[in-house]
């Protein structure tokens, strides 16, 4: 079947097998390999991308379901001049990544979280990221990075 998806602002059109998953469409058709596959039970969140601005696990969405819609991956977060998104900058500043495999999904889940809740508490960050596994960082610095990148961070009451 023919699928047309706007990926990071560019239209990607391809003939794919009906069962093609969105993550494989992104990796093998759009050739954007940052988004990783970390499990086969929708448990780990490594494949998290934004679909029409909301985070989804792209291993559990068919490419067909994304037809005519907009997808943002971590490659699309930097602006035209290559400047990193505040969440990406915070991840670097706080050492919130080690091996990097969960990172693209973790960043996209964090972007989505802060979009919904611009000034989360630590507990809210931990709860919101429950579906994104990281095996390296112990989450400590990921949580710090998300709190640091929160647009409403200055309004947050000290805990």
């Amino acid at each position: 079947m023919k699928v047309t998806v706007t990926v990071n602002g560019s239209q990607v059109e391809a003939e794919v097998a009906d069962r093609t998953l969105l993550v494989h469409f992104l990796r093998d058709v759009a050739n954007l390999t940052a988004t990783n596959v970390g499990c086969d039970t929708t448990s780990c969140g490594a494949c998290t991308v934004l679909l029409d601005g909301k985070s989804v696990k792209s291993c559990t969405v068919l490419a067909a379901q994304a037809d005519g819609r907009e997808v943002t991956t971590v490659e699309g977060l930097t602006d035209g001049s290559g400047e990193m998104h505040p969440v990406q900058r915070a991840f670097r500043a706080e050492h919130a990544l080690q091996c990097g495999f969960c990172t693209p999904g973790m960043v996209m889940a964090s972007v989505s979280l802060l979009d919904e809740n611009p000034s989360p508490t630590e507990e809210e960050v931990r709860s919101a990221l429950e579906g994104n596994l990281c095996r390296c960082t112990g989450y400590h610095n990921i949580v710090r990075a998300v709190l640091a990148a929160a647009p409403g961070a200055s309004e947050r009451r000290p805990s």
């Binding site: 093609t20 970390g38 086969d40 039970t41 990097g100 095996r135 960082t137 949580v143 710090r144």
Partner: protein
């Protein structure tokens, strides 16, 4: 000021954050442009004879390039016959050969669910999954041997040419004379459960064989060891093999070298002439990648009523799974580290290793040392409970004092440097130990549903246990003033590129952003060992440091020639990276000028650093847990640690190592376990079932800095990679037990799930010993 010890952000991150890493599945290199996918057909049963296999339907399926079985493996030299007397080993070979040999593809028998039986090669991965389903294998079931008790008692043998399922025995621990004179003695058997290492990237490999040369990309902790393994397995000259480790998505010990599945990718590429790629699924990973831990330990501890420990016994039975890989060796590290940080005069250890119809066991973050610490730290708490003394006080009374270093333990380890009591006291002070105990008392008095537990673990561990194997570094300063480091260490998340660049900047004044670090390519770095056992900084890092010193000496001679001054009059300003006659900026020469003057073969140093000895990091972890006494649910609410690994080169990276290790350590205490049913079927074979720990189950951690340099190496550094899993597990387990100890509970096996905690509380309330509650599932 030196950059060492300062908070530097990583050089690796911009690429990983904006474009993503390049893991094996991401490689889009020309050599793999026609790459086919490999899908394994794996055994769905734990123990069976293979009586037939039909690949006909699979071969006809769309996209199938080939289906390979043991019948196709006619191009390999069979392994040598067993040597006489190799049936049962008294030593620690890894892996065992002879009658315990592990084939590449199953021959006529399968021994665990997930064992590779056949390979399906297809144009794409979806076709591979379809075609693998069409391979029909006839299995004649055999009784499954699952669990240590079963392995020791059953008449079913995994390996027909052996007499027992015990493949390694070492030492005896039966002489009770060491406990004579002890007023209080406690003994019990505890379980250190089987875990899945579960790096976020599973195993993956790609291979191309062309013009007599094999190019092999693999997710590994050691490119050079991988090349050695491939050369042996495939009967090839190592010079005809190039191994490349691209970005690696975590390893945790389970990617040391390569295993049979990964060897098969190289073999199949040579056999078929087709470039191949294999990237395992998570469900494959959880049964196919080696597991860790899996020990049953009988501990016995005795001492005086006033808290002096006089004798300790550790008897280990290691489940090594279906084949004796590194699992056969792990108990030796456990026994070596048996006494932990305590000055105990009489110590006895013994171990046996058994095979079972489960996934093979190998290294997992700590590899034998977390097991040692879990045993002694449980023993100390059991003894403290027996004599009615505060567990912190018992620890303080028995810690090796600072004036006894270097200290040689009764098991033969020589601890280099340490200040164990200070680590304990710092943690107690930072946590507010007295106030925590007061809060615990208040909750008990009020009869709160949610009770508080405080758990301690003081530890010492061994890092770079194989220091004698050393590590390599080659450092070149280039004509444009940049530097290139070729390291034998192998990065998979630790931040080697940042740390090695810091070492170069510190010594040479060449800024980090002008230092390129290259690892994991055997064409560029033929000699190297790689990363495991917390060895990188103290071996590979020291090699870089020494290479920098060597290059500096060379540059001094060249600069002296350029400036026409005596070498002894020259100085290197490491702030600006310039050479000059001391106090005379007019004579200044940049690194670019000096390197250009030195010529093409100019400023290059190769160092093969052989470490003097292993080092022994130490520390104390304190965990605070809340336990809901109605549901048994335990939750970690605070975790306070001192992890002293000598001089800290990068505080940011060291903290990151501690954080990650703590999370995995807590996960073992509270949540994670690979569970099999009695027939050897894995019950936790997907991430929907295996309880990998998430952000929601952890607090932020409270890390206290502490640096006691070692004298073993010139940087004063020890390893920090495994401290977290060594200290956090027993501290958390002890905290959960402490929370409910007032209800008569003395022990709960890990993971301390709600069901187990609830069962222990119920047994305690009835006045029953809760010894058996560890069996509750």
């Amino acid at each position: 000021m030196s950059i060492l010890g300062t908070r530097v952000v990583r050089t690796e991150d911009p690429r990983l954050l904006t474009a993503g890493g390049t893991y094996v599945d991401d490689l889009r290199v020309p050599e793999l442009s026609d790459v086919a996918r490999v899908t394994f057909v794996r055994s769905p049963v734990a123990h069976a004879r293979i009586t037939g296999m039909d690949t006909g339907a699979a071969r006809q399926a769309p996209g199938v390039v080939a289906v390979l079985t043991i019948q196709d493996m006619d191009d390999l030299t069979p392994p040598p016959p067993p040597e006489p007397g190799s049936e049962v080993s008294e030593g620690a070979p890894l892996p065992l050969g002879g009658p315990w040999s592990e084939p590449l593809l199953a021959v006529d028998r399968v021994r665990y669910v997930g064992e590779p039986v056949a390979m399906v090669l297809t144009d794409d991965s979806y076709q591979g999954e379809d075609a693998a389903e069409l391979v029909s294998v006839d299995y004649e079931p055999l009784p499954a041997v699952v669990g240590i008790g079963s392995a020791l008692q059953t008449e079913t043998l995994l390996f027909p040419d052996t007499e027992l399922n015990v493949c390694v025995t070492s030492g005896e621990a039966t002489d009770d004379a060491i406990f004579e004179g002890c007023d209080a003695v406690v003994e019990r058997t505890i379980v250190n459960q089987r875990l899945a290492p579960m790096p976020m990237e599973g195993r993956a490999a790609a291979a191309r064989f062309a013009d007599g040369k094999l190019t092999y990309w693999v997710s590994t902790q050691n490119a050079q060891i991988t090349r050695f393994i491939l050369a042996g397995a495939l009967g090839m000259d190592p010079g005809t093999i190039r191994v490349i480790a691209p970005d690696v998505g975590g390893g945790f010990g389970a990617k040391v070298g390569i295993d049979r599945d990964a060897i098969l990718i190289a073999w199949a590429a040579r056999r078929t002439g087709r470039a191949l790629r294999w990237v395992e699924t998570r469900s494959e990973n959880l049964v196919g990648m080696t597991h860790g831990r899996a020990q049953e330990q009988t501990i016995k501890i005795g001492g005086t009523r006033d808290g002096r420990v006089l004798a300790y016994r550790l008897d280990v039975v290691q489940d090594t799974g279906a084949y004796p890989r590194m699992g056969g060796f792990l108990p030796f590290l456990t026994k070596l580290m048996a006494v932990g940080p305590y000055d105990i005069p009489n110590v006895q250890t013994a171990s046996r290793v058994v095979v079972t119809n489960t996934t093979p066991i190998s290294a997992y973050r700590g590899a034998g040392r977390p097991e040692a610490t879990a045993a002694i730290e449980r023993a100390i708490d059991l003894y403290a409970a027996e004599i009615g003394m505060d567990p912190a006080e018992v620890r303080r009374k028995n810690l090796i004092p600072p004036d006894k270093f270097p200290y040689t333990t009764p098991t033969g380890a020589t601890y280099d440097t340490g200040d164990y009591a200070t680590a304990l006291d710092k943690v107690l002070a930072a946590a507010g130990y007295g106030e925590l105990r007061a809060e615990q008392a208040r909750r008990r008095e009020r009869g709160d549903v949610v009770q508080l537990g405080i758990g301690l673990a003081s530890y010492v561990e061994i890092t770079a246990a194989d220091a004698a194997a050393g590590e390599t570094a080659r450092l070149a300063v280039n004509g444009d003033g940049t530097a290139t480091v070729y390291t034998g260490s192998s990065a998979h998340g630790q931040g080697h590129h940042t740390a090695w660049a810091m070492l170069v900047e510190s010594e040479l004044g060449i800024p980090m952003d002008k230092v390129t670090v290259i690892h994991g390519d055997t064409d560029l770095i033929p000699e190297g060992v790689g990363t495991y056992a917390s060895r990188s900084l103290q071996l590979g890092g020291v090699a870089v440091h020494k290479a920098a010193l060597d290059v500096k000496d060379q540059a001094r001679r060249v600069a002296a020639d350029m400036i026409e001054a005596a070498e002894s009059d020259l100085e290197l300003d490491t702030e600006t990276g310039n050479w000059q006659v001391r106090g005379d900026p007019g004579t200044r020469r940049t690194w670019a000028e000096v390197a250009t003057h030195a010529g093409a073969d100019g400023l290059v140093a190769f160092v093969q650093y052989v470490g003097g000895a292993p080092t022994f990091p130490f520390g104390t972890h304190l965990a605070v847990a809340e336990v809901d006494t109605e549901t048994g649910k335990a939750r970690l609410i605070r975790h306070v640690t001192v992890d002293d690994a000598g001089t800290v080169v990068s505080p940011v990276l060291a903290e990151g190592q501690r954080h990650g290790g703590i999370a995995q350590g807590v996960a073992q205490a509270l949540l994670e376990e690979m569970v099999y049913d009695a027939d050897g079927n894995p019950l936790t074979g997907t991430l929907a079932d295996y309880a990998a720990i998430s952000a929601a189950e952890l607090p932020s951690f409270e890390l206290i800095p502490s640096e006691t340099p070692t004298t073993i190496n010139p940087l004063g550094v020890k390893g920090i990679g495994e401290a977290g899993t060594i200290g956090a597990t027993p501290a958390t387990q002890n905290a959960v037990i402490d929370a409910v100890s007032y209800l008569g509970v003395t022990h709960i096996d890990m993971p301390t799930t709600p069901a187990r905690v609830w069962a222990a509380i119920s047994a305690g309330a009835d006045g029953r010993d809760n010894t058996e509650n560890g069996e509750a599932q």
